[in-house]
């Protein structure tokens, strides 16, 4: 079973057999569309050779391009379901709130007794998403790992817009704050943006997925500020693609 998650920044492909991940790959979204696919009769034909995939394998796809892009031969499911199934499978937990911080959007999904009971997505823009974190790291001239390590003494930042956030951050740099406090401020701004959603869709267990889960400083902030247990999953970035396989095989 192949699970494909067409994200806004990366495309994730997972091959699963007997509940095990046999292979996985991540592609830059633009590169994936340019290099490994072509559009024909309104559907996306995958270059199975180039992707090193067996065209006979069953496929389930999800993702932002789900409507604009229908993959020929693949079933498709909504993103919310894909992520919830992925988290159910990876965590073995049945009651939780999933926080998915992706490249350009954030999703919060409340799961009770194994069923989705409510969900919310961020505002119309990429504010507070992975793109914001990346852009702010580049303004601070540090890499993702460095940015993700600071959670102490956050400076106050109000804008989480991936573009305008830069102006505010520069103003704080001018004020002379150390990089560690600025980086912590960036992480805290993301937390503040998702906090109301976590409160609204409350569970005492929070599962993080998407690229945002790879930010330990953010994970610590969520744990400390909400008082909830934050449960790690093994493959946060592949969670949606795994969920596609889980749905396709009825493994829930």
């Amino acid at each position: 079973m192949l699970g494909i998650d067409l994200g806004s920044r990366t495309v994730k492909i997972v091959l699963m057999k007997n509940r095990e991940i046999m292979a996985c790959s991540l592609y830059d979204t633009i590169r994936f569309y340019r290099q490994f696919s072509r559009s024909s009769r309104g559907k996306l034909q995958l270059d199975f050779n180039g992707l090193n995939l067996d065209p006979e394998t069953e496929m389930v796809a999800t993702g932002y391009g789900k409507i604009a892009v229908t993959i020929a031969g693949a079933q498709k499911i909504p993103e919310i379901q894909a992520h919830a199934f992925g988290a159910l499978f990876q965590s073995r937990c049945e009651n939780f709130t999933l926080l998915d911080i992706g490249g350009q959007d954030t999703k919060v999904i409340q799961v009770q007794k194994g069923d989705i009971v409510d969900f919310a997505t961020n505002d119309r823009c990429a504010a507070g998403s992975g793109r914001y974190l990346e852009n702010m790291a580049s303004v601070l001239e540090i890499n993702w790992e460095q940015l993700s390590s600071y959670d102490q003494n956050p400076v106050e930042l109000n804008a989480t817009c991936a573009i305008f956030g830069e102006t505010e951050l520069i103003a704080r740099i001018v004020e002379g704050h150390p990089t560690s406090h600025l980086a912590a401020g960036v992480n805290y701004a993301v937390f503040k943006r998702v906090a109301p959603l976590l409160k609204k869709l409350y569970s005492d267990t929070i599962i993080l997925s998407g690229g945002g889960a790879l930010n330990p400083a953010l994970v610590r902030m969520i744990r400390e500020e909400t008082g909830c247990q934050v449960l790690p999953i093994k493959e946060p970035r592949l969670n949606g693609a795994i969920g596609c396989c889980v749905w396709g095989q009825g493994w829930k």
Binding site: K66, I67, I77, P78, Q81, T121, R124
Partner: protein, 330 residues
Amino acid sequence: MKKIGFTTSIPVEIIYAAGQVPVDLNNLFINSSRALFMLDLAEEAGYPRNTCGWIKGLYTAALETDIQGVIAVMQGDCSNTQALMETLQMQGREIIPFAYPYDRDPEMLRLYVEKLMAYFSVNWDQVLQAKKDLDQIRQHCRELDRLTWQENVVTGAENHYFLVSSSDFLGQPQTYEQEIKACIQMAREREPNLDEVRLAYMGVPPIFTNLYESIEAMGARIVYNEVQHQFSMPHSSDHILDQYLAYTYPYGAFARLKDILPELEKRNVDGIIHYTQTFCFRQIEDIIYRSHIKKPFLTLEGDKPGKVDARTRMRLESFVNMLKMRGKGR
């Protein structure tokens, strides 16, 4: 016959009594193939980008149509209406103010109605006769609505179209009557829809042009259009004043809830879609509806006219899917 534009439902009986043609500017705007362009024109005139799309559409619609004047609902609808009227006045349009009293005071409403009657030089007999004529057509609205939720033979889109158009009866009550009767007749011959998911739609009419079709393609159907249902004046009353006091839309969230809650039960809906317009004060009222309505609730937001965008579609699909899974669990 002279045409009179209006910004939201008003006692349309008065205009018909005066032998003039009412034009709901909202319908004119959203049904235009140039809707998106009309919005651009308003922005070129200086309307800010962060203002409601409907207000901008109404501005252009009011300027482009050969109307004698615009009845502006200054209380009980949107506060942007004031600036809309002022900018239309600047362009030489005649403005006729109307208001629904916030506290639903019958005496105040009488004053506003009588003021409007005086403007059009009509008396109570004429207005009540016009009401009698329109009430006959409204009977068909009630039947179409019943066929939607009870017999399950009318689509959400048909329900929306006929009820939303009952604000002005397309300016041609006879044509409207023929159309709705034809739809009812056609629907009666259909097999009932075996809905997997029954949805309620609340809030102002959508700026999306294919919302109902998109939802039906997902295996769900809208069996209740809250505000559109109100436009059709569903509560029979002998007097026009009682009718516009029973009408809930202009009297705030709590008045609307009194109508919504029993309807949700009666129509056996699985979930609610609350549509709000980007930049609208009603986005704040979402708090009230969410806390009072104990059913799965999805808030949608639309900005400019056009098809349902990818993100909204994803949210709708997920919501419908979630309700389907719940249904199976029962």
